[in-house]
């Protein structure tokens, strides 16, 4: 098996290496720059070689300035973001995984209609949904509460589709009918047969839901009236707006310059990367589990 997997010719191997190297450069160079930027002063970022390393103390300085912004507001933002995204993540998984499963592997009247409506809603520009959602939240008196963010975050048609496609192309219906013939209830079929096979898709859905919500700016911006409720993206926006780089009206008293913004950026994406690594593990583990079953 290993013999056949290896690239046949040197040329093919070389081509593979070159394409991958280019791709890595394309995706990573800006990120590397961002990492290095936190080690430099504002002047160094602009004037020095983009890939020079500043000094570790610069990171500490940047962190002090960042932390001093609104007395540690950055931590509040992260905490809020975590609350909204994990809250929504739980609800999303509970609702969309069974739904995707049912759409793929059970038959019921309205299945096709549900798929169509899901698609239709998914294609609706989000900008158009803001006013209706805002009015809706206001009508049920949830405006200004954390639910006005968590609940819309929990509606994740993208995930339902991922699950649907996953189950419909990866889990043979025969497997389920065999379980049914063995006397499993529908719930048992789902829990004992489908769920163990669903790990990769759960990881995918969970991950995309988390990232989408973590990076969502507009909905929390519109829904939340209080700066103590802001999640990281809205907070970052305020941080940008407070920087003399963009806000000349604030005068020169403010310490939020390029290194601080770079650091704030990194701090807010760390959770996303951690979740990515975890979900990747589940993705691979799930695939291996599937392989041993075959």
């Amino acid at each position: 098996m290993h013999r056949t997997r290896r690239p046949r010719s040197l040329a093919a191997r070389l081509a593979w290496l070159i394409v991958m190297a280019l791709a890595v450069l394309f995706f990573c160079v800006p990120v590397v720059w961002l990492l290095l930027a936190t080690t430099k002063t504002d002047g160094q970022i602009v004037r020095d070689n983009p890939f020079s390393f500043g000094s570790p103390t610069a990171i500490a300085d940047a962190w002090h300035h960042l932390y001093a912004f609104q007395e540690g507001a950055i931590l509040t933002w992260l905490k809020n973001s975590a609350l909204y995204t994990f809250g929504a993540l739980a609800i999303t998984l509970v609702t969309s995984i069974p739904a995707g499963y049912a759409l793929a592997l059970t038959q019921f009247i309205g299945r096709r209609m549900l798929l169509t409506i899901t698609m239709l809603v998914m294609l609706m520009p989000t900008a158009a949904m803001v006013l209706p959602l805002y009015l809706g939240m206001n009508a049920v008196h949830l405006d200004g509460t954390i639910w006005s963010v968590i609940l819309p975050f929990s509606f994740f048609p993208f995930g339902v589709y991922l699950t649907y496609i996953y189950f419909s192309s990866n889990v043979p219906a025969d497997l389920l009918s065999a379980a049914r013939i063995d006397g499993c209830s529908e719930w048992q079929v789902f829990r004992l047969v489908a769920m163990p096979l669903a790990k990769p898709v759960i990881a995918l859905v969970g991950f995309f839901n988390f990232v989408g919500n973590w990076n969502n700016f507009f909905l929390p911006f519109v829904m939340l009236p209080d700066s103590s409720q802001y999640p990281a993206q809205v907070g970052l926006n305020n941080l940008l707006a407070a920087s003399p780089l963009f806000n000349t009206s604030g005068g020169a008293g403010n310490q939020i310059m390029r290194p601080e913004l770079a650091l704030a950026t990194l701090v807010t994406i760390v959770p996303v990367l951690i979740v990515f690594l975890f979900s990747q593990r589940a993705l691979v583990a799930g695939m291996l589990a599937g392989a041993t079953k075959e």
Binding site: R5, A23, V24, F27, C28, V29, P30, W33, V46, P98, Y101, A102, L103, T106, Q107, F108, L114, I117, T118, L120, V121, M124, P125, A127, A128, M129, V130, L131, P132, L133, L135, L151, S154, F155, P157, L162, I165, S168, S169, A173, D174, L176, I181, G183, C184, E186, W187, Q188, L204, N215, N216, L236, L240, R258, L261, T265, I269, Q280, V284, M287
Partner: protein, 306 residues
Amino acid sequence: MTTHLATERSGRRGGRSARNPVGRAGYVFVSGYVLFLLAFGVLPTVYAVWLALSNSRNQLVGIGNFTRTFTDYRFGPAFLHIGLYLVVWLASLMILVVLLSLMLHGRMRRASTTLRFLFYLPGALAGVASVLLFLILLDPAASPVGWLLKGFGWNTLAQVNAPGHLPVLFTVIAFWTGAGGWIVVMYGALNSIPDEILEAARIDGASTLQIALRIQIPMITKWIAYMLILAFAAGTQLFVEPQLVSLASWGMIPDSWSPNQLSYQYAFQAGDFNGAAALSIDLLVLGLACAALVVFRTGLFDRDER
């Protein structure tokens, strides 16, 4: 309740219906999602459609908002921009994502895990967080890719952001942040193809290219179709990239470059939610047309009855 359903079914017809039980179980499984779909999908959409068909005094105006926004001086350019962008964006996304996924797949598991992580990295940088990055990245004087920009003959921020460059520029940004996620999805899809099939093909003497074209791509058609629909919709709804670049270039991008931005201008600058909704419905119709085409071509909605 579930046991009740099961007993009801276990004694029923065999054959095809045993594989595709028609019953209430499906309803139970989708019920939670349907609630959310109604509350946060269908209702807002219906309201948006109503907005598009009415005026600020809640009177029905028919297609008035559509004709009114159609004659707006920004309508034509915005849709032209987005058309150009879509061509570049869809072509690059479809080809490169599938290509990179295929190349990653089946070769050195460990390296491919690392590579997928590296490709995904920029995806975490979507939104506001990346403004600072573009502030520097697009300015040849301080950019880490300054040599490249200068190589194109662009020596200032304004030259990089010249109107003619924008569709490509936004594609690069969107690809940079979005491709990694799709590569993960495609990789997962490729992984679900049983090794035996590929192995058999190899033994039959099929080349890597033949395997990719005749086996792997056909077997992940549904995933590609799904990506195409969403990428098309996301492309027509382009909003974030022009906003970010505009912010990072002190306003060099027109505030209504894309239709979705125009819709935003209608809603929040002019306070005209009806015109804004009409523009959004235009985009929805475009997205639906693409989706319908893809769905019928690929059988995305059909259940696979292998």
